[in-house]
């Protein structure tokens, strides 16, 4: 049996990689190149690497390996940014609360119109109290000093949570039966989509305070989040609209014929199916949104990328930029990879309902 199996493996390899002399040569060269790249990486990142805390002098002297000592020594700056050192447990806890809320809301048991909002309101409240303090004997830390991973997670969660309902409203207005509403919404979406995210963030962070009355200004962080959420909503609205257009014409008619009103039709028939249809691009939009949170650096926030740069910004660690970017990249990777896998799980799960 095993010879038969290895025979087929061998013939498979021969057929696909060694069919002609040229084919064989390319296969061998690429295999060697891949091995060389993997070996060099392994050599650099593991064999010649320097581990352990505070070894920057050793790292500087020893140029051929990775300096994980940087991560071991400076990880708190990367993760927490300017957040006061002795209060950083609060930032970590807040981050964990947010992650727990995100994980819980990914579970089907929480998918109800009552549980999800309660969960998120509680989650945001806990996050806010932990981060900002000023109550329950916690020292006050203003938004200006928030930073690192918890800031990135906070911006992402707030943008999605604010942006998603907005996107649904935009999508519904966009397909309104009244032409002037539909056309106005289409224009708004097209205008905002044609602006760069950066200029929108700048406008909300710096220009808006001159225009708004004092009571409506709020902290710069929240203005940026609102601007980003509107930007997100415009893209997501078009994704949802695409999902709606893929719906069979008869679905809405059937719901009408059963006497269901507009909001019932939207809530039970149109949106659930539209989201199923639009799931892959929606996950895509989440991924892009998460990664683009880094843009807030430019208006002076210490998101995780900025705090990473700060951690490698001092003279004694300035050589460790590669390690810093790898570390931050790894954190991004974990988030985005989990998001993608969750998207794939959702697709499999929802496929059951529409076989």
């Amino acid at each position: 049996m095993s010879t038969a199996a290895s025979d087929t493996t061998m013939s498979y390899i021969r057929k696909h990689y060694f069919a002609t002399p040229l084919n064989s040569a390319i296969s061998v060269l690429l295999a060697l190149f891949t091995l060389w790249v993997l070996w060099s990486l392994f050599d650099w990142a593991v064999l010649k690497a320097i581990w352990g805390k505070g070894l920057n002098e050793e790292c500087r002297a020893h140029e051929h390996g990775a300096c994980w000592s940087f991560v071991a020594t400076r990880w708190r700056i990367v993760l927490f940014g300017l957040y006061p050192f002795e209060e950083q447990w609060r930032s970590a806890l807040a981050c964990l609360v947010m992650l727990a809320v995100a994980v819980l809301s990914c579970m089907p048991a929480f998918w109800s119109a009552k549980r999800l909002p309660i969960l998120w309101v509680l989650g945001f409240a806990t996050f806010f109290v932990l981060m900002r303090g000023g109550v329950f004997g916690l020292t006050e830390v203003t938004e200006r000093d928030w930073g690192g991973l918890s800031l990135t997670v906070f911006i992402f969660a707030a943008v999605c949570l604010l942006g998603m309902p907005l996107a649904i409203i935009f999508a519904l207005l966009r397909r309104s039966e009244l032409p002037w509403i539909a056309k106005t919404m289409a224009l708004v979406i097209d205008v905002i989509r044609s602006l760069p995210l950066l200029s929108i963030m700048f406008t909300f962070a710096i220009v808006l305070p001159f225009v708004l009355p004092d009571w409506a200004i709020g902290d710069k962080l929240y203005r940026v989040i609102v601007g980003y959420a509107i930007f997100f909503a415009c893209y997501q609205a078009e994704i949802i609209r695409g999902g709606m257009q893929a719906l069979l014409m008869g679905q809405e008619e059937a719901a009408k014929a059963l006497g269901m009103g507009y909001w019932h039709r939207i809530g039970y028939i149109i949106l659930p199916q539209a989201f199923r249809n639009a799931l892959p691009p929606t996950i895509n939009q989440f991924v892009i949104t998460f990664k683009e949170t880094s843009l807030v650096t430019i208006i002076g926030f210490f998101d995780i990328l900025a705090s990473g740069r700060a951690a490698a910004g001092t003279a004694d660690w300035s050589f460790a930029t590669i390690e810093m970017y790898l570390f931050v990249g790894f954190l991004f990777f974990i988030f985005v990879f989990c998001l993608s896998r969750y998207g794939a799980y959702l697709e499999r799960r929802m496929a059951v309902g529409s076989r």
Binding site: A254, K256, G259, P272, Q273, G353, S354
Partner: protein, 247 residues
């Protein structure tokens, strides 16, 4: 007037410049079974879809169970609750199980409790002979089964009138009779039915009246015996000869 389930007076319907329904007068009394037939494009589906405002008419009046069909949303909803509809393409909700399809509108619109709605739904699913499919999704059922579910779903709203828009046209031939059987049963129980169909055997068996439409007009209407055996209008005769020629 009040004994009419449906009462339509000089109703006109336009699609842009196209005059789809011309000056229609059409009554259905309570308990009556009416079959509407006619060549494609004759306006028969449009007529039945005007009755529950899936299409809007431009002039004339429509009354269903005494409720005038106008721009008043409450009236439209009232009429839609009282008139169940079965579509050519079933239009079941693919993201819900059969049971959920049947209980959604009764719980949302009729405010039934979940238990009550499910019990009710199972009764109707038994009546259309597929209670064992209750927890499957529409995509797992054959066309004939799906259409029977669609009938059960409409019945769960306890409508006074049932509208059928070519209920067997999208079915494979071997599945037509299972759907027609359910419709015959419904007719025998005294349901008021308006049915757009080309199933002339069904028309002969259950209809009190057959209506022939062509080019947006009602050309001729008569009890089935008279309609099939002694049609008056030339267009009716042509149409019947074409249909019978294939049967």
């Amino acid at each position: 007037m009040s004994e009419n389930a449906i009462s339509i007076r000089s109703m006109n319907k336009y699609y842009g410049g196209f005059h789809a329904l011309k000056n229609i007068d059409f009554d259905v009394s309570k308990g009556e079974k009416v079959v509407i037939c006619g060549p494609s494009g004759s306006g028969k589906s449009t007529l039945i879809r005007c009755i529950n405002r899936l299409e809007e008419h431009q002039s004339g009046t429509i009354e269903v169970n005494g409720t005038p069909l106008d721009d008043n949303v409450d009236n439209i909803d009232e009429i839609r609750r009282e008139a169940g509809m079965v579509f050519q393409n079933f239009n079941l909700f693919p993201h819900m199980t059969i049971l959920e399809n049947c209980t959604l509108a009764p719980t949302l619109v009729r405010k039934q409790s979940r238990d009550e709605a499910e019990e009710n739904a199972m009764t109707y699913l038994e009546r259309v002979k597929i209670p064992e499919q209750a927890h499957k999704y529409p995509g797992e059922l054959s066309g004939g089964q799906q259409q029977r579910v669609a009938i059960a779903r409409a019945l769960c709203m306890a409508p006074e009138i049932m509208l059928f828009d070519e209920p067997t046209s999208a079915l494979d031939p071997e599945m037509i009779s299972e759907v027609l059987d359910v419709m015959v049963g419904l007719a025998q129980e005294g349901m008021t039915m308006v049915c757009v169909t080309h199933e002339m055997g069904f028309a002969r068996q259950v209809a009190d009246r057959v209506v022939f439409m062509d080019d947006g007009e009602i050309i001729e209407q008569a009890p089935p015996d008279q309609f099939f055996d002694n049609p008056q209008n030339e267009r009716t005769k042509t149409f019947l000869s074409l249909i019978v020629g294939h049967q």
